[in-house]
């Protein structure tokens, strides 16, 4: 097993009890350390189920999921897997345990049984990374949505994980909250954190280097970002493409922007102006 492979999924299926239809099935995919993978799909496509399989919250009913070479079916390693792969969920309200910010961040490390000096250090670090240091002693309910979600991220980071899995973590936030959260994630990713982000906001694809599309529980597409951008993969799979993607293709087709430019309004505008003026 390659050292740099964090997830290795082999023909995974999962069926919720009392349900005949599997929520996901036949999923085989590999994710390397340091990647940012975005998984998109409609409601009910099985995205959240897949997320929970990645940190052994759910054990596949068929197939195997290896996390850093460890089989999630083995109860002895589930604990270690959750230390390495942390999750941030959709609703910030439903993942905050404590009524004080720093106590909330300490919850994970406390579960690991770390000595108190260690916990204090981790808490300080995680709050710093997420820009919440000034709120350490504040009550959690007084935070805004975006701040709550960053707090949830801080709680995950305090575990010192190798990978963060985001399950629709931005979907209940406003643009500002979304920007705050993705800003922190971008920095972490640059420092080598693996990110798996599940979303139905296709704009967020641009943050990632790999894209997976889930459709009715099946992996309909898995490849790198350029492949998604250049073809019309998304629309063919019935997923809305941000207008900037279409604009990007149109402009590129006409030779008005360079190949290396990302389909972001600011980048495209800048490039276009450069090209026209020259």
């Amino acid at each position: 097993m390659a050292e740099d492979r964090i997830f290795s999924l082999r023909d995974i299926a999962f069926c919720y009890p009392g349900n005949d239809e599997p929520a996901i099935s036949g999923i085989t995919m590999d994710i390397n350390v340091g990647w940012w993978v975005t998984i998109v799909g409609d409601n009910g496509s099985g995205k959240s189920t897949l997320a929970k399989i990645l940190n052994a919250l759910l054990i596949p009913t068929r197939g195997v999921c290896y996390v850093l070479g460890r089989d999630t079916r083995d109860p002895a390693v589930q604990w270690d897997i959750r230390k390495d792969v942390c999750m941030v969920f959709q609703n910030p309200e439903n993942q905050i345990v404590a009524s004080v910010v720093e106590e909330e961040v300490a919850f994970g490390p406390e579960n690991l049984g770390l000595p108190s000096e260690d916990i204090t250090m981790r808490v300080r670090w995680a709050l710093g990374v997420t820009g919440l240091s000034e709120f350490a002693k504040k009550p959690t309910y007084a935070l805004s949505g975006g701040q709550k979600q960053r707090l949830a991220l801080a709680g995950a980071l305090a575990m010192r994980p190798k990978c963060i899995v985001l399950d629709e973590a931005t979907s209940m936030l406003d643009p500002e909250g979304r920007r705050e959260l993705t800003g922190v994630l971008k920095r972490l990713h640059e420092e080598g954190m693996t990110v798996v982000s599940i979303t139905h906001r296709t704009e967020e694809l641009l943050l990632s280097d790999h894209v997976a599309v889930l459709s009715r529980g099946k992996l309909a597409f898995y490849g790198d970002l350029n492949e998604v951008l250049s073809g019309s993969t998304l629309s063919k799979l019935g997923i809305r493409e941000p207008s900037s993607f279409r604009l990007w293709r149109e402009l590129k087709g006409r030779g008005l922007i360079d190949d290396r430019v990302l389909p972001r309004a600011e980048d495209m505008a800048e490039n276009l102006v450069e090209k026209i003026c020259l």
Binding site: F14, Y16, P17, G18, A56, L57, L58, I59, T61, T72, P75, Q78
Partner: protein
């Protein structure tokens, strides 16, 4: 399927039940024509006890009731409430096969408990007055539970099954 260990689910259920009891205790319904208020706390305790059994009944009544006392500014009563409402939830849950009896037993425990506590704290002369308001409160609680329970039961059934 789920790799659950350590009873996180029991803890969160207990905690949220306690929270909902505390919140319901803080909701006051004025009685038309009188300067008397009733709260929904009792009713919610019975609902939880009848749905979830003695364990959660005791937890939500004891912790939730005591917390409401503290939040509302009556910390002295919290230990009494903890015992009385804990027992109330426990017994109502214990006899939940027969709903009306269960609620009746719970109500008796509550009324007797608070009358006793009032006797201890305010003197035995005051106890009869406490008894009257408790009786009314218990009646309201029982009424809420018996009327609301059928409505609550179905939507939450899929959660209980797990």
């Amino acid at each position: 399927m789920s790799a659950s260990q350590g009873g996180a689910k029991e803890v969160t259920l207990g905690a949220l039940f306690a929270a909902i009891v505390a919140v319901a205790t803080m909701i006051h319904i004025p009685v038309p024509g009188y300067r008397v208020y009733f709260n929904l706390g009792e009713g919610v305790i019975y609902c939880i006890a009848l749905l979830m059994g003695p364990k959660y009944g005791a937890i939500c009544g004891g912790i939730g009731g005591a917390m409401a006392d503290v939040v509302l500014g009556y910390p002295l009563w919290a230990p009494f409430t903890f015992v009385i409402k804990g027992a109330e939830g426990l017994l109502a849950g214990r006899f939940r096969q027969k709903r009306k009896q269960a609620v009746l037993i719970g109500a008796c425990v509550m009324v007797a408990g608070y009358t006793l506590a009032a006797g201890l704290l305010y003197g035995w002369k005051v106890a009869p007055i406490e008894l009257l308001t408790d009786l009314a409160q218990a009646g309201v609680g029982a009424a809420i539970a018996l009327v609301a329970l059928p409505y609550i039961e179905r939507p939450v059934r899929r959660f209980i099954g797990k």
